[in-house]
Amino acid sequence: MNIIFVVFLVGGILAAAWYGNVGVITTAAVDSAGAAVTKLAGFVGVMTLWLGVAKIAERSGLLFSLSKLFQPLMGLLFPSVPKNHPAMGAMLMNMTANMLGLGNAATPFGLKAMGELQKLNPRKDTASTAMCTFLAINTASITLVPATIISFRAASGSANPAEIAGPALLASLVAALVAVALDYYFRRKDNNLWR
């Protein structure tokens, strides 16, 4: 992340200087900072709501039952996370929300899952293998219903807004399979290296 931050800022400033409009940087930086706060302000309500709901599901044992249902698959993907650990439930809620195209609902569960995974992590400043697998699945999630884009297509006057759902599902499936395969490959390579 450090490298990305430096490359983007330095690259951007140098490019602006090259094109002779350094003034753009000031506006871009200030506007983006404001936009970030606005964006998060919108998120505060949603995160508060969903973590509240998640707590109910946690207390009632619903999260627990859900994670039990998918135990075989989750156990296969996350061999380092103990069965019935709260991280399993949070990860499942996150993946379910992602599949339904509910990105905003997925984030709080995802962050909760990261917190739980961090408790199991022996090196607190380094991503655990479970975290890497979780994020591989999370960033290449299978999209059952691309709800956002369908509604925007409809609003833009498309004759058939949902026609993209099929190809989007297939493309996301390809990305998800590649992510899981790559994660498996890197995990084995990395673990051998660290031993």
């Binding site: 871009a28 290449a140 297509r153």
Partner: protein, 177 residues
């Protein structure tokens, strides 16, 4: 098909809320107290990640508005055009892993200029609908628990995105072209 999908999406949140609340109440959970307790965690989580989000937004904003983004994407143009893919899709492909709102903005701009049912409009829809904001998610998720070394996560996420892009382009050329 559209009716089915849109009603499925409509039902997702209400059904989820209903199941959680009724199940909790049935199991004898103090539903409202549990909600407030969890909600408090949600609020502080949001406050905790604010600085990271500001950092990401500023870096992306500076990189895009300075013209650096356009300069970086320029060399890829001939390759895409040879494959029959309009080069105007490039900014979306680059921005998509970085941030959600700007990539939605780029998609809507394509809809406005070429129409949602044009080839590039459909391609943009599939790209947007099938991929995630990989870099943004990695940065926020790792930052929320103080992870500084992401190991191979970024490589896996971006390579999977590339595979998704290739699949989206192939499928669109096959179905819509």
């Amino acid at each position: 098909m559209f009716a089915l999908l849109s009603s499925a999406a409509q039902w997702a949140v209400p059904v989820f809320l209903l199941v959680v609340v009724v199940h909790g109440w049935y199991k004898g959970v103090r539903v409202y107290e549990a909600f407030v307790e969890g909600a408090r965690e949600g609020f502080w989580l949001a406050v905790k990640i604010l600085p990271y989000i500001v950092g990401i937004y500023v870096a992306i904003g500076v990189f895009r508005d300075s013209g650096a983004l356009a300069a970086v994407t320029a060399p890829l143009k001939p390759l895409l055009q040879a494959m029959g893919v309009p080069a105007e899709i490039l900014p979306l492909m680059v921005v998509r892993p970085l941030s959600g709102p700007p990539s939605l903005g780029l998609t809507l701009e394509i809809f406005d200029r070429y129409g949602p049912d044009s080839f590039i409009g459909r391609l943009a829809s599939v790209l947007y609908g099938s991929t995630e904001t990989t870099i943004y998610v990695l940065a926020v998720y790792f930052a929320s628990v103080g992870i500084k070394k992401a190991r191979y996560s970024l490589a896996v996420g971006l390579l999977a995105d590339l595979a998704g892009y290739a699949a989206a382009i192939f499928l669109c050329l096959w179905i819509f072209a």
